[in-house]
């Protein structure tokens, strides 16, 4: 009797605990989304030019339709330069973090990250080839970037899988090999380019949110939302894959189908980000790690929460990049790497 009396409330708690994950996910993601919206407004108040705060908030609120007392230059700066750039930063951050979280679950490796696995470099090579050979086609850049990312993903995956399956160490080694190989391809092609193009290209390789077109921005946003949703929809499969491919198969996961979906969706995310902004490193590593640390390992939470947090991370990093030495600018990838590289070393040391 005693044991029954003690067990009752206990089972009640765990019972609620599990059902709460859905509510918790919804609450956390809504709060994060709200935070992101507030942040977007706040960060659009900062820049190398000073704009009136009240007028700016009013202009963002009415999307420039209302009369907010801004000069035409001020509203151009706010709505045509800052806001698109911040939105691009948000979709790039969301894309890279969602892709990182999914790669980590699928490859069962907390260190898997688009930049470190060479996938970003694959997309960069694709973009570069598009710039050199197909410069006139607006769609060539994201398409070639996507193809490059997908090819690099498959290459790393094949290299990492030995007869005994893929160990985390093999995966990272395969990533290093692919990254350095593709880096040499990039160096080779830039050497063949003329001098002025090299300068813009090397800046762009470190991640740069300033040079994009409206078309690429729209592509980046659409891809970020669609593919993150696809990944989130497969998050329950990822939960099982994260614990072992064979177990997941036994429990009913169609492993090869899910793997293909994740590879394609994540490559699209990385490809559209790189095409729009170059390689912004470490976002896919830092953000999912912090999300798991604070919210647990359920990918139905991790994938959407990491996407929104990734957006926050890159928007903040880019605000630093464009204001700290204004009116000059730093590449945003330099800021994310300064934060990300020490964390990577910490994770590696902790094993």
């Amino acid at each position: 009797m005693m044991t029954v009396a003690i067990e009752e409330p206990q089972s009640q708690i765990t019972f609620q605990g599990a059902r709460m994950t859905l509510r918790k996910t919804l609450v956390v993601c809504s709060l994060l989304l709200l935070g992101l919206l507030v942040l977007i407004v706040l960060m659009s108040l900062l820049g190398s030019e000073t704009l009136p705060v009240g007028g700016s908030i009013c202009a963002i609120g009415t999307l420039g339709r209302g009369d907010c007392g801004l000069t035409s230059d001020q509203s151009l700066i706010l709505l045509n330069i800052r806001l698109p750039r911040i939105l691009l930063g948000a979709s790039v951050g969301a894309s890279l973090a969602a892709a990182g979280a999914s790669y980590q679950a699928l490859l069962r490796n907390p260190l898997a990250e688009p930049y470190l696995l060479g996938i970003s470099n694959g997309a960069a090579v694709g973009t570069m080839l598009a710039l050199v050979f197909l410069g006139s086609f607006e769609w060539a850049r994201p398409l070639m970037a996507f193809s490059g990312a997908l090819l690099a993903t498959l290459l790393v995956y094949r290299l990492a899988h030995g007869r005994t399956g893929a160990t985390p160490e093999r995966l990272i080694l395969a990533g290093v090999i692919v990254t350095t190989f593709l880096s040499s391809v990039i160096v080779f092609v830039t050497t063949l380019m003329d001098a002025t193009r090299i300068r813009s290209f090397t800046f762009w390789l470190l991640g740069d949110l300033s040079g994009t077109t409206n078309e690429l921005l729209v592509i980046a946003i659409v891809v970020a939302v669609l593919c993150t949703s696809v990944l989130a929809a497969n998050a329950r499969s990822l939960n099982l894959l994260m614990l072992g491919e064979r177990d997941a198969f036994d429990l009913g996961v169609e492993v090869s189908r899910v793997r293909l979906i994740v590879f394609v969706a994540a490559s699209l995310l990385v490809g559209s980000s790189v095409a729009a902004s170059g390689s912004v490193g470490y976002v896919g590593l830092v953000v999912p790690h912090l999300v798991r640390l604070s919210l647990g390992g359920d990918n139905r939470m991790t994938v959407p929460a990491a996407a929104i947090s990734g957006a926050v991370f890159v928007v903040v990093a880019d605000t630093i990049a464009r204001t700290v030495i204004a009116p000059r600018e730093l590449p945003v990838g330099a800021i994310t790497a300064i934060i990300g590289a020490p964390l990577f070393i910490y994770l590696l040391k902790r094993g």
């Binding site: 190398s48 750039r85 880096s183 160096v187 003329d194 390789l205 740069d208 300033s210 464009r322």
Partner: protein, 301 residues
């Protein structure tokens, strides 16, 4: 970052190969001491007759002072005057082949600080090849480069004629624009990403002399990446696009944030041959004249 590392390793390999010991001695025993524009002292033969130039502007100066026939090597960028194309190529300014330079047995190698080849300079020095560093920051610097190189190459009389002419043309421009109000200029090096000419750039001085005021004249650095919104807020009256020449048709469009500027609205966007503006040499004066004509068309009717 990763890219740079790979690049360094490649460079290192080149250096290792290049450093292989050779018993190379300069042919002429009669050496004299000479100070280059960076203030370094070099030992050069009394008459220098084997030269390698690592920058197109230096190649142009060498030809202009009548010493072009002494060039035994130059870069793939060296395309002016036409004879410069026939000279043996040692790579481009950023990726010269040290092996080929050594094989050409030059007595002096001319480099420009813009090409950032400090490590390279040391390599050549170790091989007994003198390195002359040119460092013009403004038009006076260009005149100094011409004078100094002519002294190095014993071409002083030819240089005198050239310098007199160049100075006269410069004065003519400055006198013409003296009374005109300075025009606000944005100098667009590249549109995407947006690069411009900063405080330390040679172009900023050129703009000032041509009766303009670069809106980015106070930005630190020579070629800074510039904020799009600051470019928009600067509202330049004139935009200069260095394009054409060896650049082909790159940089022939105004960057998006500048499209609302008075310069665009009033149709005051000018393309100037990039080679006249990016190569501090004799043709810079042509660049200056073209710049003045663009900034003050009313004075050149």
């Amino acid at each position: 970052m990763r890219l740079n590392r790979t690049y360094l390793i490649a460079l290192l390999l080149v250096c290792v190969v290049g450093c292989a010991p050779r018993n190379y001695q300069p042919g002429n025993a009669q050496l004299r001491q000479f100070k280059d524009e960076a203030g370094r002292t070099l030992s050069v033969p009394a008459r220098v007759d084997r030269l390698v130039s690592l920058a197109p502007n230096l190649t142009e100066i060498v030809y202009a002072i009548g010493a072009g026939d002494r060039l035994v090597g130059n870069t793939t960028y060296c395309d002016y005057p036409a004879q410069a194309r026939q000279v043996e190529k040692i790579g481009d300014t950023l990726h010269p082949s040290i092996e080929r330079i050594i094989a050409l047995r030059p007595q002096v190698v001319l480099v420009s600080t813009a090409s950032q080849l400090e490590a390279f300079t040391k390599q050549l020095n170790d091989q007994g090849i003198a390195v002359y560093v040119s460092d013009p920051h403004d038009l006076d610097g260009v005149f100094h480069s011409i004078a100094s190189l002519s002294e190095l190459l014993n071409q002083s009389s030819a240089a005198q004629t050239l310098l007199t002419d160049l100075r006269a043309r410069t004065n003519a421009v400055e006198n013409a624009v003296k009374s005109a109000a300075p025009v606000a200029v944005f100098y667009q090096v590249s549109a995407q990403p947006l690069y411009t000419a900063g405080r330390d750039s040679f172009v900023t001085d050129l703009i000032r002399r041509a009766g303009g005021k670069s809106v980015t004249a106070e930005v630190p650095g020579a070629w800074p990446k510039f904020s799009a919104e600051s470019a928009l807020a600067a509202r330049p009256e004139t935009i200069i696009l260095p394009t054409g020449g060896s650049l082909g048709d790159t940089n022939s469009f105004v960057a998006d944030p500048l499209k609302s500027s008075p310069a665009v609205t009033n149709g005051r966007v000018y393309k100037i041959n990039a080679d006249h503006l990016s190569r501090p040499g004799p043709r810079s004066i042509t660049g200056l004249e073209e710049m003045a004509r663009s900034l003050h068309p009313e004075l050149y009717k």
